[in-house]
């Protein structure tokens, strides 16, 4: 039976990623507590699992490297070699090598063989150097070569006195004979019963029998020996190979030609060297261009990358889901039953059942959503290492404190916030925290602290990155903003407004570009990414005390809080997060400006006005803004007044994408189905703003 193991590779990769994480955090802790045996055991087990499984899935390189790491770890936990900063460093770098191998195995890039081999040598040095010149551990099984098998008919004599506790180990002699029988003919089987004691002295769980037999077979002695693998210890076993008859070993065509003197071995290897990859042959014969072949090869490689996104779910969550579905089915059958013989006096019962259905559905929805929820800790795991590396490079002493790792949010979001968070942590460590001297001079502990804290806040999750560094420099930000032409000189601004400037495009205060941050990707990108996820970023700072950046994100991307509005007979949803207020303007507030279209005066600020009915070409109830309503929305620091007939309510809506079913529509991010069965379009506010601007530019 051939079994395709590749289908389990995905689990292998998921699992390995977890083990790698365990090892990474483990190594970092190990630096602080080199004596911790439990910790070492935990790391060892992770390495051991990767090694074992990698072997199973034929990733020899991964198995090889982890094997070396495991050896070092094993010696450490047996206290044969000490845990030194150097050895932990080698292990950490090996872990990076391991990650690159894992990535390569998943089709993402290639691992640098030289680096891997270098690491293996370093690991070997850790293992040997500190243990003296003992010969390295047993060679890996891959290196053991097996002698070529040749078919020989032989007679094998077997003399077996089994271990007495045979049965207590779950062994059965009959099985053994069956197996021998499959290898050849059993001749002359003798059972020896002389060791059987008297009935009173006999222990029924002990084996008193022994056997002598002859086997005629064409398999090697090794195979016969292998039958007794599990019983050899404790048994007395003699296997004698008699009268073998030699048979011809299998020869390849080259061997035969050499033997017959037709060609020399040299000519054979010359000929073999001429064998070429298909691509080269096709190019030579002008059937394909080298570019086409390269492209095809690239494509071939990429096939491997098409990984399936999967999620690991607690069985408990699934059990609860199944329970709920069960309840739903019961409710449904009760309703069917009721519907068959319904009379009006049963109305209260019907209503009660419907309430029950509603409850089931809501709970089901919550539970299904919770499947996508994962603890945010998995996004945090990279930071201890990052901070360690940063403090190494910058000469600062940094301690990272994380809390709220168990806070759950949508898996997609966890993946999406990784980079923005990394940026924030780097910023805090690089720009926020001072060097040790400066800190001591300011009366702070030498070691700076970066705090990473996640918590739920209503329907949102907040992630705060906080440092106890010098805080944002108000004057420098202001000077920079003026220099960059982001604001006009002489404008008075509050501290808060000034701090907000760091989110503007083209702003970066790092005067020297360091290795870790200040490479052009600024806070504006962070802000844009987070807003793209339906979230927001805010900053708080106290000079000399530190600063705190807070990301606020929805728990999931699939459901948003929406404001339902009506235009004519159509309903639209405006994401609640973008809505700041609703107003009914006075006529004096309305203006038409050439090149900008209609604007409305909002406490001194001129805000562009968008007539939703024009955008979607529907007939509204009101066209006069003084009768209708203006919803003020704000996104990317830009405000927009949206003209609608009426606000109809506020509710959570499930987003259905239009692209999958229709095509992308400008100004619309999706659609949803309202309680009464009507479809409502969900407005894409940034898109709407763009649409409005474009129209007016054309009009002008």
């Amino acid at each position: 039976m051939a079994v395709d193991l590749s289908q389990f590779q995905e689990s292998f990769f998921t699992e390995s990623a977890e083990h790698v994480e365990t090892m990474e955090t483990g190594f970092l802790e190990l630096e602080e507590r080199p004596e911790d045996l439990d910790l070492l055991n935990r790391i060892f087990r992770a390495a051991h699992s990767i090694k074992g499984n990698a072997g199973m899935f034929n990733f020899a390189e991964i198995a090889g490297l982890t094997h070396k790491m495991e050896n070092v770890l094993d010696l450490m936990r047996n206290e044969e070699i000490p845990v030194t900063p150097h050895s932990v460093d080698v292990l950490l770098r090996s872990l990076d090598g391991l990650k690159s191998l894992l990535d390569a195995a998943q089709g993402a890039g290639e691992a640098d063989q030289e680096i891997i081999q270098g690491l293996e040598k370093e690991l070997q040095a850790c293992q040997d150097g500190e243990r003296g010149s003992e010969v390295s551990a047993a060679p890996s099984s891959a290196e053991e070569t097996v002698a070529p098998q040749t078919a020989i008919w032989r007679l094998i004599k077997i003399d077996w006195i089994p271990l007495p506790e045979l049965f207590q180990r779950g062994l059965d002699p009959a099985q053994l004979f069956k197996e021998l029988h499959e290898l050849g003919m059993i001749k002359d089987l003798q059972v020896q019963v002389d060791k059987i004691p008297s009935l009173e002295a006999m222990d029924p769980e002990v084996c008193y029998l022994s056997w002598k037999l002859e086997l005629e077979t064409d398999v090697s002695v090794d195979k016969v020996e292998a039958v007794f693998d599990f019983v050899r210890d404790g048994s007395e076993l003699t296997i004698t190979d008699c009268a073998p008859k030699q048979a011809e070993p299998y020869k390849r065509v080259g061997d035969i030609l050499v033997e017959e003197g037709v060609v020399t071995p040299g000519e054979i290897s010359d000929g073999l060297a001429k064998q070429k990859p298909l691509g080269e042959i096709l190019v030579e014969e002008k059937k394909a261009t080298p570019e086409q072949v390269d492209k095809a090869l690239q494509k071939q490689k990429q096939q491997k990358k098409g990984e399936v996104a999967s999620i690991r779910v607690d069985t408990e969550k699934i059990d609860k889901l199944i329970n709920l579905v069960g309840e739903l089915v019961i409710t449904q059958s009760m309703l069917t039953d009721l519907g068959e013989k319904f009379t009006i006096d049963q109305l209260p019962v019907l209503q009660e059942r419907i309430v029950q259905l509603e409850r089931n559905t809501r709970e089901l929805q919550e539970r299904v959503m919770s499947i996508r929820m994962m603890p945010i800790g998995s996004a945090f795991h990279r930071f201890p290492r990052l901070v360690r590396d940063l403090s190494g490079k910058s000469g600062k002493q940094i301690q990272l404190v994380m809390s709220g790792e168990e806070t759950e949010l949508d898996k997609t979001l966890i993946e999406a916030i990784g980079d923005p968070l990394t940026h924030l942590v780097r910023n805090s460590a690089d720009h926020g925290l001072e060097g040790p001297e400066e800190r001591v001079a300011a009366g702070k502990p030498e070691r700076g602290t970066v705090r990473l804290h996640a918590f739920h806040d209503g329907g949102n999750i907040c992630i705060a990155v906080e440092d106890d560094g010098r805080g944002l420099n108000r004057d420098r930000i202001l000077a920079k903003a003026i220099e960059r032409g982001l604001i006009a000189d002489g404008k008075t601004m509050s501290d808060d407004e000034i701090y907000q400037l760091i989110f503007r495009a083209g702003f970066s205060t790092a005067e020297t570009i360091t290795d870790v941050s200040g490479r052009g990707v600024g806070m504006d990108v962070v802000k844009r990414n987070i807003e793209g996820l339906g979230g927001s970023v805010s900053v708080q700072s106290t000079p000399g005390k530190g600063s705190k950046l807070t990301l606020k994100l929805p728990l999931t991307l699939a459901i948003i809080d929406g404001m339902t509005v009506r235009v004519g007979e159509d309903n639209y949803i405006i994401p609640l997060l973008t809505v700041t207020e609703s107003i009914r303007p006075k006529s004096s507030d309305l203006q038409r400006i050439v090149g900008k279209g209609e604007v409305v005066n909002l406490r001194g600020e001129w805000v562009p006005l968008v007539r939703l009915y024009e955008v979607f070409n529907v007939t509204p109830e009101y066209t006069d803004p003084m009768q209708a309503l203006l919803v003020i929305v704000e996104v990317e620091n830009r405000r927009l007044a949206v003209l609608v007939d009426e606000l109809t309510g506020q509710q959570q809506v499930v987003i259905k994408t239009l692209e999958q079913n229709y095509r992308k529509v400008e100004g619309v991010s999706g659609a949803t189905i309202l309680g009464d069965g009507q479809v409502a379009l969900i407005l894409d506010v940034p898109g709407l703003a763009k649409l409005a601007r474009a129209e007016h530019t054309v009009a002008a």
Binding site: V3, K51, A138, V227
Partner: protein, 123 residues
């Protein structure tokens, strides 16, 4: 009736692979994520014809599990195969001492595993 195998391993991918292979070969499979879970399943009435267990596991390792199984009257003679990466004999000896019937050395391919199972599965 099909024969039942209890597969004990903390690694999901290994369990999946072993279970898939066994199911494909016509065995019924009961899975457990560590020794403790396996003991619970056995105490809960599971009656496997064979147990396959990993050695390195959290909560209760393979050796302790083997000892525990040998102490249960209904499973005293049930064959137990251990999965091991140790090429050294020490672990095999330890396993045999605890009452393991045999072992399968990782890495193995499915065919090797099935052959070994056949070797010890009571007829």
């Amino acid at each position: 009736m099909g024969k039942t195998v209890l597969v004990v391993d903390d690694s999901v991918s290994m369990r999946q692979m072993v279970s898939f292979t066994l199911t494909g070969a016509g065995y019924e499979v009961v899975e457990a994520g560590d020794g403790k879970e396996a003991v619970d399943k056995l105490n809960g009435g599971a009656k496997p014809n064979l147990v396959i267990t990993d050695l390195n596991m959290p909560n209760m390792d393979g050796i302790s599990l083997i000892k525990a199984i040998r102490g249960m009257a209904p499973h005293k003679f049930t064959p137990i195969l251990m999965l091991t990466t140790e090429s050294s004999d020490a672990k095999k000896k330890e396993g045999q001492g605890a009452g393991a019937t045999g072992w399968v050395v990782k890495p193995f391919n499915p065919e090797q595993m099935l052959a070994t199972i056949k070797k010890v599965m009571p007829g």
